[in-house]
C-alpha cells in the first residue's frame, strides 16, 4: 500500500509517458463531449425556458430524469446502436474515442440542459420586463435573461464536465478500454486495480481527485460570483 503510493508519486513526478497520454486522452474525450453537451444542453434549456409547446412538461421531466441516467445503461444503449448490427453500425465507431465522446455527451447533456433551465427560470422576472422597457425584441430579451443566468449555467457546465470525466461505465462498454487508443483515466484505474497493479491506478486516482478539486474550486468561485446580490 505505502509502496504503491510512493511509486504512484514517482510516476506523477517523473511525468511518465503512458500516464500522460492516458490523462491527455481523458481530457480530450471529456472536453469534446462537454463542448457538444454544452451547446446542445444550453439550446434545449433555453427552448424549454422561453417557449411554450405541448410536450414541454414531458421534456423537462425527461431532462431531469436523465440527469441521473446510470452511465452503464447509457453505454449499453449506445453499444446497441453502434454495434455492427445496430442502426449506426456502418459508421464503425464502436471501440473508438468518438464512441466515448458520444457516450459522455449523452451523460453530460441532460445536466447542462436541466441546470440551465432552472438557472434561467429563476432569473427575477423584472429582468425580462426591464429589457422590454428598454426596447429589446423578444429574442434580445431572452438573451439578456440568459446572460443574467450565466453563473447558474456555468455551474451546470462545470458539473457536467465532472460527471463526464469521472464516469467509467459507459466508456468501458463503448470504448473497450484498448491500450493506447481508448484507455482513459477511469477505465485504467478499473483495469489495473483488477490486475493488482496499484501504482498506476493510485497515480491516476490522485490526479482524478485533484481534477475534481479544481472543478469544485471553479464551481465555488462561479457560485460565489453569482451571489453578489445586495440592496435593490
Amino acid at each position: 500500500m505505502i509502496e504503491g503510493i510512493t511509486k504512484a508519486f514517482s510516476l506523477i513526478a517523473g511525468l511518465d509517458l503512458e500516464l500522460l497520454s492516458i490523462i491527455f486522452l481523458s481530457l480530450r474525450v471529456s472536453g469534446l463531449a462537454l463542448v457538444i453537451a454544452a451547446c446542445a444542453g444550453l439550446a434545449l434549456g433555453a427552448i424549454v425556458s422561453f417557449s411554450r409547446f405541448p410536450a414541454r412538461g414531458l421534456v423537462i421531466t425527461l431532462m431531469n430524469t436523465f440527469m441521473g441516467l446510470p452511465p452503464v445503461v447509457a453505454g449499453l444503449f449506445l453499444y446497441l446502436i453502434l454495434s455492427r448490427s445496430g442502426p449506426l453500425g456502418f459508421m464503425g465507431l464502436l471501440y473508438s474515442p468518438s464512441a466515448m465522446v458520444i457516450a459522455q455527451s449523452i451523460l453530460a447533456f441532460p445536466i447542462v440542459a436541466s441546470l440551465s433551465h432552472s438557472a434561467i427560470v429563476n432569473v427575477d422576472p423584472i429582468i425580462k420586463q426591464a429589457s422590454q422597457t428598454l426596447g429589446a425584441t423578444p429574442f434580445q430579451t431572452s438573451l439578456n435573461v440568459m446572460r443574467e443566468a450565466r453563473y447558474g449555467i456555468m455551474s451546470g457546465v462545470i458539473a457536467a464536465f465532472g460527471r463526464a470525466v469521472s464516469e467509467v461505465g459507459a466508456i468501458l462498454v463503448v470504448g473497450g478500454n484498448l491500450a493506447g487508443y481508448t484507455r482513459v483515466m477511469t477505465t485504467t484505474i478499473a483495469l489495473e486495480t483488477d490486475k493488482g497493479n496499484f501504482e498506476l491506478a493510485i497515480a491516476l486516482g490522485i490526479i482524478l481527485i485533484m481534477l475534481s478539486l479544481i472543478i469544485n474550486g471553479f464551481l465555488h468561485a462561479v457560485q460565489r460570483k453569482g451571489m453578489v446580490k445586495t440592496t435593490v
Binding site: 426591464a130 422590454q132 428598454l134 426596447g135 443574467e148 453569482g226 440592496t231 435593490v232
Partner: protein, 242 residues
C-alpha cells in the same frame, strides 16, 4: 421631437377583478405629468399599458407624432399601406417595435442587470445596434447627467436604492426617449437622492423633448415637478388637479 398620447376607454382586469374601467386621458407632447392615487388603484398597470408592455382588455392607446408626421403620398401608395391614420391635426402612429423604442418605463424596482453600471446604461444602445465606443460615450453623458459617472465601472448590484433609481433613469434617458414613464422613482429614496432625482426630471423639462409621466405618492413632489397632476380613482383618471 416628442410624442403626445391619447388613452381611450382603457379597461383592464386581473383574474376577473377590474383595475382600469374606461380610463381615458390625453397627454400633450412635451408635458410633465404626475400620476397619484391609492395603493392598488392601478397606476403601475396604467403605465405598463401606456408603455405598450401590456395589452389592455379593451380600449386604445394612440400615440401622436408632434409635429404631424406625413409620409410622402407616393411612398404610401407604392407600399400599398399607410403608416398610420391621418387625423385632422396629427398622425396616429402604428403600434410596433419602432414605436415601442421611442418610449421607456423605469420600473419601481428598476431591474438592474448583474453587470457594471456602464453596461447597464449601454444596454439600450447595444440592442439598437450602436457600437461600443459610441455607446460608451453616450452612456458616460447619461451617467454624468445623473451624477453616477464616478461609479461607471462598479458592479451595478452594489448601488444603494437611490443610486439604483438614478441608474434606472440614466439607462432610460440614454436612448433619448420621446416619452418617459417613471413609476415611483423616489419611493425608497432618501431626501438627498430625492432632490437629485427631482432635479434630473426638472432638467428634462427644460428642453421639452420628452413627455414625462411620474407615478408618485408624494403630493408635494407632484406640485414641485409637474404642470398637471393626474389622479387615479376607481379605475379612472379623474382629473388634472392643478
Amino acid at each position: 421631437m416628442s410624442l403626445g398620447l391619447n388613452a381611450i376607454n382603457i379597461c383592464k382586469s386581473y383574474n376577473g377583478r377590474s383595475v382600469l374601467k374606461d380610463c381615458s386621458v390625453s397627454l400633450d407632447s412635451g408635458g410633465i405629468y404626475t400620476l397619484m392615487g391609492a395603493n392598488g388603484s392601478g397606476k403601475s398597470t396604467f403605465l405598463r399599458i401606456c408603455a405598450l408592455l401590456e395589452q389592455p382588455d379593451k380600449g386604445e392607446i394612440n400615440y401622436l407624432s408632434d409635429p404631424p408626421f406625413c409620409p410622402p403620398l407616393s411612398e404610401v401608395e407604392s407600399r400599398g399601406e399607410s403608416t398610420g391614420r391621418v387625423t385632422s391635426e396629427n398622425t396616429i402612429l402604428r403600434n410596433d417595435m419602432g414605436l415601442k423604442r421611442r418610449m421607456t418605463l423605469v420600473l419601481p424596482g428598476v431591474g438592474i442587470f448583474n453587470t457594471t453600471v456602464l453596461k447597464n446604461v449601454a444596454y439600450g444602445l447595444k440592442i439598437r445596434g450602436i457600437n461600443s465606443p459610441a455607446a460608451e460615450e453616450k452612456a458616460d453623458k447619461a451617467l454624468e447627467f445623473v451624477g453616477l459617472l464616478h461609479k461607471k465601472n462598479h458592479a451595478a448590484l452594489t448601488l444603494s436604492s437611490g443610486e439604483a433609481q438614478r441608474l434606472g433613469i440614466a439607462r432610460a434617458i440614454v436612448i433619448g426617449p420621446e416619452v418617459l414613464f417613471l413609476d415611483e422613482p423616489t419611493a425608497s429614496v432618501d431626501q438627498e437622492n430625492t432632490e437629485i432625482i427631482e432635479d434630473i426630471i426638472l432638467n428634462l423639462r427644460k428642453d421639452k423633448m420628452t413627455t414625462v409621466i411620474i407615478a408618485t405618492h408624494d403630493i408635494s413632489q407632484a406640485e414641485r415637478l409637474a404642470g398637471a397632476a393626474l389622479v387615479m380613482r376607481n379605475g379612472k383618471i379623474t382629473g388634472k388637479a392643478f
